[in-house]
Symmetry: C2
């Protein structure tokens, strides 16, 4: 009989998103934990979730987590702002494994980083509209001032491979102007696509702001949680990677390779 700890540690970490954005979270996790087995699911057949209701997003999140549970994951990482907002609290008690969302880790990093207590949040219109970052920042009890900025054009440009155009830089300047006028000193990148924009955002803010990537904050929390739960895979060999999507694998691979350069095999797992 294998000791429970070791058997548990061999199981994969389940990471999921509506599409390719969660691959920035995969990238950050595998930098710190290359030996872990990872299973990823992108619900590309039903993406984007933006126009969906919270109830619908919540239902999708639990469908995906049920699927992940079928892969015997030892931890669930909700690498999607919409699903974290809609389902994180409830999911924490439901699967008997640790669940990590994208909002809390970034919020804690930002509250620690700020000097003047003025924090900016960039996100999709849906994420900003949900008020989840505002609530999570308020819940820290640190009395920070929060300035939110929806960035409707970023996701499409990033997925098209544009991290460099004059149009993108101009858009970033426009989005950031009110935050800089408000004197924020810390900026939460509240969308899993935005880690790829750190170069642009650093340039536009002249390097004066602390940029908080939710992907990296999540990865550090994943590491800490695996250690504290006795679930860390302590083996030097690289872990396996498995990528599944509900939509077209070829399209996912084409766009996703900008987010995760080693992305190769992608399986189609359509919803019945």
């Amino acid at each position: 009989m294998v000791a429970a700890g070791s058997a548990g540690a061999e199981r994969p970490i389940g990471i999921f998103d509506s599409g390719v954005g969660g691959l920035t979270v995969v990238r950050a996790i595998e930098e710190l934990l290359p030996q872990e087995h990872l299973v990823y699911f992108g619900d590309t057949a039903r993406a984007p979730y933006g126009p969906r209701s919270v109830q619908e997003v919540r239902r999708f999140a639990f469908e995906i987590m049920d699927l992940m549970a079928g892969h015997d994951v030892k931890m669930l990482v909700i690498a999607c702002n919409a699903m974290t907002a809609a389902a994180y609290e409830e999911a924490r008690d439901r699967y008997g494994v640790p669940v990590i969302g994208v909002i809390e880790p970034a919020v804690h990093s930002a509250v620690r980083a700020t000097h003047n207590g003025k924090i900016g949040v960039l996100g999709t219109p849906v994420t900003i509209g949900s008020g989840e970052y505002q609530r999570a920042l308020a819940a820290t009890g640190r009395g920070v001032e929060v300035f939110c900025q929806p960035c409707p054009a970023f996701v499409e440009l990033v997925e098209a491979g544009d991290l460099f155009s004059e149009e993108l830089i101009g858009l970033a300047e426009g989005y950031l102007a009110p935050l800089m006028a408000a004197d924020v000193d810390t900026l939460i990148l509240g969308c899993t696509h935005y880690p790829l924009l750190k170069g642009v955002l650093h340039w536009v803010t002249k390097g004066d702001l602390e940029l908080i990537s939710s992907a990296e904050a999540v990865a550090r929390d994943v590491y800490a949680r695996l250690v504290s739960e006795g679930l860390l895979r302590r083996v030097a060999e690289l872990g396996t990677r498995r990528f599944m999507v509900s939509g077209d694998p070829g399209q996912f691979r084409a766009v996703g390779s900008r987010f995760l350069p080693e992305l190769r095999e992608v399986e189609a797992v359509p919803w019945r």
Copy 2:
């Protein structure tokens, strides 16, 4: 005739190190700049540089930069602490292209991040012994207190794929204890191997310290410098990657794939 700016932008960025560590810099650069062509050189036949004199390291650095110049690079990134310390100042005027080292970007990030003005630096014994971080931090004129900690055992463990053992965690606790007793709130990871240790360091410091990765700080500066010099490649297609080593390509690939998961083809370019 092609406009100078566009012809310049098509040239690759040259990145080099004594070995595999600089691949963390490649990883950070390609996250922000996937469309850039990159050329990497690892001087594995002569690594490690630790036991070498400053004069020797300086000579090696210029040999490598001459080689890079032969590949018509538009920018040089010295992804190595020893070579940055030995050759950065002189290299800046010598090649007619922007030169970026690993020390300044991290130092500027750290000085901006610290709240209490107490900054810790982790590095190899040689890097800490060189005093370059101490000098660069003092040169900012911000009056920060600097606490340096040589970490002799980290590089070997990281290259062996150990990011998780009890031994590693115990070592990290030992290295960090004096820095935490000194109340540092910001920690410079002053070795290109250390970004892979962010999980361990975050765990050991209970998430209370700001971790400054030189790799990521360099990548942001590379982006900014390309924009300001009109050298950014503004094309959506992914750039090419070329990896060269002076020693055994197979060994470099085996160890390097932990640092850069998509690493595949590595060319042998032995010194004559």
